[in-house]
Amino acid sequence: MAIFANDAAPKDALTTVTGVPDHDFRGPRGKRRSGGRRIGSHVFLIILAIYFIVPIWWLFVAATKDTAGLFGSPAFWFDGDFAFFANVAELFTHQGGIYWRWLGNSFLYAFAGGVGATILAILAGYGFAKYRFRGRNGVFGVILGSVMVPLTALVIPTFMLLSQYGIINTPWAVILPSLLSPFGVYLMRVYTQDAVPDEMLEAARIDGAGEIRTFFQVALPMLKPAIVTVLLLSVVGTWNNFFLPLAVLTDPQLLPVTVGLNRWTALSNAGAGGEQVWNLITSGAFISVIPLVLSFLFLQRYWQGGLAIGSIK
């Protein structure tokens, strides 16, 4: 994902397609507003922001406490001793450092599933947008309709299918079903339709470029904002997935961090003193949210417009 972060913002492409703001720089619209209303609006925003950020602040604070501190000190402020590094060290030793294995699994599944789903969506979106083959509208209609099929309804049949082929309890059991992203195809088609002019493709073909070269050298560079958006959505989707890995994985070594931490919580709630690892749950949860939160912060300019693709006529 980081490869995109350094590129210049393709602001124009974004603007033409999503309609996101030409007029962003039109100067403060608030000029005509009275000061009182703007203070009211800001107070409202601050209250909202506090509601949304407080649990994350709590997680950050909790990650720095040992189990005694979690029970005994104020929830929203630091304990006397700073135990974060001790917790990290314990994450390396508890059950042979399985936490890091889980985190690695999450990365693998999210990356393989997310990148794969994005590649399939780019290709299919381009095919649907720029080629007029027979049956196109019918097939696309079916795909669009399938956006409304709840993916969790597919988990149990997928489990039964995969177990027949003997790939249950392997990384493939999570990665392969994660390649499915009908919504990604829809987004890529809508975006490609507007962002890549037919004339440019024709010009490239007349210049003798083959279909593959036309796709890679002409179309692909123009699709970057949509690609980042679809990539983020599908990586988040796979990283978030809970039902599928819960159903298809039983080997503790293969779990993603979400299922693993939930398992620790269930054990800690049910178990006796030795199985209670509250400090590892909080610090593990905190570490696991850092990568995605940072990605979203660094890729702001892409997703802020990109998430609205397809919803603006």
């Binding site: 709840p150 009908p182 696991s288 939160v293």
Partner: protein, 318 residues
Amino acid sequence: MTTQTTAAAPPAATQGSRAPRRPRGSRLEQRRQRWGWLFVSPFLAVFALFLVFPLFYAFGMSLFTSTLATGTKFTGIDNYVKAFTDPLFMEGLLRVAAFAIVMIPAQLIVALAAALVLDSLTSWLSKLSRLLIFVPYAIPVVIGALMWSFLYSPKFGPSATLFTAVGLPTPDFLASDTVFGSLVNIVTWQWSGYYMVVIYAALRSIDPSIYEAARIDGANGWQTATRIKLPMISSSMVMVITFALIGTLQFFTEPVVLRNIAQGAIDAAYTPNMYAYSLAFSYSQFNYASAIAFSLGALVFAGSYLFLFLTRKQSGLK
């Protein structure tokens, strides 16, 4: 959503086969057709393998019943008759319907209010708030639910300290009559920011000269918001509500995580998805679980289709 895109394709393309053809044009046409299929085929393979096939497979499984005594037997729609007279499944359905009625408006009101306020401000504080409100979306649902379950917990949670400080009795967030609200809060916290970003982007795409016209006509801020902004972003609102609806009806992760500490309030059949999961993996009733999963899928599909049909005017879908 599609009207625009499908209409954009020149009608000549679909009539290509019927039109009198020149040899060269037809060869080019055929070549293009092949490339079109080539580009979409990798996705179609995954689509067939992991969506179409599992759906048919689930439906097929649901028509059989297997017991130790008689083995696997074709029983037709028996499993569906059983499902729709099964109080556990029906209670779960009613419960997710209740969640949809409470949770979707809650998320929508927060997202819309935040987006409208953000759209009227340009300060650094508003930009920062926009980010902070969105951050929960980047946090996995499991972790979000774990965090809230800590905060709700009477053992760790700050609630005891907070409520004692103001002299009130500490509420139990995990009792059977309060856990509903506790779950609504988790989902609202997790998803409102995402919906806000979508609505905000739609608001930014409105041509500001309309506001000038409205101002000259004497519209105040409230009137501008309700009579101009809202109608103009209705297609985004329809999309957001559809997603929220699909997500709510397949409610699973949050109640499963909260069940760790609230076994008494959340049973194994709390939502239809949880019921299907426990039937399949705790009781190995795969045929009946398939019938439940397929019924839920069909109901969600029908529900969101109905919603899109009823709002086709607002969304521009036909």
